[in-house]
C-alpha cells in the first residue's frame, strides 16, 4: 500500500484526509501512482498533471524520502521506502508569489 500526502486544496476537492493509501501494481512509478490516485479520485484528473500531455503542472512538486523528485522521469521507479509504504509520496503546491 502506497501512502500519498495531498496538499490541502486537493484533499478538499477529493474530500479525503491528508494522506490517502493506494494499491499500485509493482513496479510502482510516479506515473502508475498518479494513475491509481486519479482512478480512486477522478476529480483530481488535471489538477496534478495536464490531462492531455500528462506533464506535471508547473507549480506542483513531488517529494519523496526528503528529496525533490519533481524532475525525475515520470516513469522512474519510486524509492523502495515509498513503494513499501514506509515513507509517503508527497504532492506539494509549490511556493509561488511574494
Amino acid at each position: 500500500m502506497i501512502r500519498v500526502v495531498l496538499p490541502v486544496h486537493l484533499r478538499n476537492l477529493a474530500r479525503s484526509s491528508a494522506e490517502v493509501q493506494l494499491e499500485v501494481a509493482e513496479p510502482a512509478t510516479i506515473t502508475s501512482l498518479l494513475n491509481a490516485l486519479e482512478e480512486s479520485y477522478p476529480v483530481l484528473r488535471g489538477t496534478i498533471r495536464d490531462q492531455l500531455t500528462g506533464k506535471r503542472r508547473p507549480l506542483v512538486r513531488f517529494f519523496a524520502c526528503g528529496e525533490d523528485v519533481s524532475h525525475d522521469s515520470l516513469d522512474s521507479l519510486l524509492p523502495a521506502a515509498v513503494a513499501s509504504g514506509a515513507e509517503p509520496f508527497c504532492i506539494i503546491g509549490a511556493m509561488a508569489g511574494g
Binding site: 486544496h9 476537492l13 476529480v43 488535471g46 489538477t47 490531462q51 503542472r57 507549480l59 506542483v60 509561488a96
Partner: protein, 374 residues
C-alpha cells in the same frame, strides 16, 4: 406590484466565492462563504430557467481549471467536466514577438447559461475560444468557427487573450455575441457555427497601427437589453460605444464622462436607454479619477451622463471595478450591484441614486451576478 421573495448575489473573488442574499427590500444582507476557499472564482452564473442551478468557474495557478455545479442555489456543489480541448488542429494566433503561437487553454473566464435549457451553458475561455455543454457541464465542446474569424491576427493583451463576454439574443436563438480582449466583438447568426467580426466604427488610435482595423480592438465588455437586443452597448479599452444594428456599426457615446476608460457596462432592467459605466482614470492607472468612486448613468443610451455618488467613497478611493463585476436585478425598482478589487460589494436598490456597501472586505472581486428569485 409583483412580490419578489429575494435577491441572490453570486460574487467571484480571487480567493473563493461568496453568496449574498436579501429579501426584496434589499436592506439586510447575509453572506455565505467562502466557497472553494483559496481558489480563483472568475465567474458564477445561474440558469435563467432554473435559478437553483448555478455554474461556477474555479481555477488556480497551481491546480488548473474546474467547473462546479450547484442544484440547490449554491448550498452544495459538485465538480463537473473540466476538459476544454480545442476542436481539430489547434492552430495559432499572434504572439507578443510577432510570431504565431499555438492556442493553449488557461482558464474559463465566463459562463453563460442558456436562456431556455438549464443543461446548456456557453463558456468563454483564455486563450480565446467558445465552448458549449449540452449535458449540464459533464462535457464541453468547442465552437471552432469563432477562431476562423481572423483568429490568426488576434494577440493577447496584458490581461491575457480572454473571451469574457457572451450575450445570447432572447429574440433570436441563432444569434450570439461574444467579445474578446485585444481582438474585438464578434457575432454569430447560426447558433455559433460561424462568427464575423463586428468592429466597424471602433477606433483605437493609441493601441493599433490601423485605428479602424477589422480585429484587434480591446473590447472590455458589451451589454444589451433583452427587449431590444439589436442595440448593443460597449465599454472599450477607451471609449463607450453604441450600436443600433447588432454591431454592424458603432458610434461613440462617451461625451461628458470624466474618463471613457473602464471595464463594465450594464443596462437598467426596465429602461433600455438607461446604462451604467464606471470611469477609470486610464489604462495604466486602474482606479477612479480623483480618488472618487463614481458610477455614471445615462438615461439617453449614452451621450449625456450623470455621476452617481451617494453612499460611495468620494476621496482616497483607488480600487478598480472589473468587467464582469456589475449586474442588475429585475425587481420593479431596478437594483444595481458592483464589486471592487478592494473587496467591497456595493448595492443600490434605487437604480443607482444611492448605494450601500453590503460587503466591505472580501478578497478582490472578479465578478458579480444577481439572481432575482421568485
Amino acid at each position: 406590484m409583483l412580490i419578489m421573495s429575494g435577491i441572490r448575489l453570486l460574487v467571484g473573488t480571487r480567493k473563493g466565492a461568496f453568496i449574498l442574499t436579501a429579501d426584496g427590500k434589499r436592506a439586510d444582507w447575509e453572506i455565505s462563504g467562502p466557497h472553494f476557499a483559496g481558489w480563483e472564482i472568475y465567474h458564477l452564473k445561474g440558469s435563467p430557467v432554473n435559478p437553483e442551478r448555478i455554474y461556477a468557474s474555479q481555477s488556480s495557478g497551481w491546480f488548473g481549471q474546474l467547473i462546479q455545479r450547484s442544484d440547490d442555489g449554491g448550498k452544495t456543489w459538485e465538480p463537473m467536466g473540466k476538459e476544454f480541448v480545442y476542436e481539430g488542429a489547434v492552430g495559432t494566433h499572434q504572439w507578443y514577438d510577432g510570431t504565431q503561437h499555438p492556442w493553449e487553454f488557461k482558464r474559463v473566464w465566463h459562463l453563460e447559461p442558456s436562456l431556455t435549457d438549464p443543461e446548456t451553458v456557453y463558456a468563454g475561455v483564455e486563450d480565446a475560444g467558445l465552448f458549449r455543454t449540452t449535458d449540464g457541464a459533464k462535457s464541453w465542446q468547442e465552437l471552432p468557427g469563432l477562431r476562423n474569424a481572423k483568429g490568426k491576427l488576434w494577440q493577447p493583451g496584458a490581461g491575457g487573450m480572454c473571451l469574457h463576454t457572451i450575450l445570447l439574443d432572447p429574440a433570436n436563438s441563432e444569434r450570439i455575441f461574444v467579445a474578446i480582449s485585444a481582438a474585438g466583438a464578434f457575432r454569430s447568426d447560426d447558433a455559433g457555427q460561424t462568427f464575423q467580426p463586428i468592429n466597424r466604427g471602433l477606433k483605437s488610435p493609441y493601441e493599433l497601427p490601423d485605428p479602424d482595423a477589422e480585429v484587434g480592438h480591446c473590447v472590455h465588455r458589451i451589454a444589451l437589453h433583452p427587449s431590444r437586443p439589436e442595440v448593443l452597448y460597449m465599454q472599450k479599452h477607451w471609449d463607450v460605444m453604441r450600436s443600433d444594428n447588432s454591431g454592424d456599426l458603432w458610434t461613440e457615446v462617451s461625451d461628458n464622462l470624466p474618463s471613457d476608460f473602464g471595464f463594465p457596462i450594464d443596462v437598467h432592467a426596465h429602461e433600455p436607454e438607461t446604462i451604467y459605466v464606471v470611469p477609470i482614470k486610464s489604462d495604466s492607472e486602474h482606479f477612479p479619477p480623483d480618488g472618487k468612486l463614481r458610477i455614471y448613468r445615462s438615461r439617453t443610451g449614452g451621450g449625456q451622463w450623470e455621476p452617481l455618488t451617494k453612499g460611495l467613497p468620494q476621496q482616497d478611493c483607488y480600487v478598480n471595478v472589473l468587467r464582469d463585476a456589475m449586474a442588475v436585478d429585475s425587481l420593479d425598482e431596478c437594483g444595481i450591484y458592483f464589486g471592487t478589487t478592494g473587496g467591497q460589494v456595493y448595492a443600490s436598490a434605487d437604480a443607482g441614486d444611492s448605494w450601500k456597501a453590503v460587503a466591505r472586505a472580501l478578497p478582490a472581486v472578479l465578478s458579480v451576478e444577481v439572481q432575482t428569485l421568485p
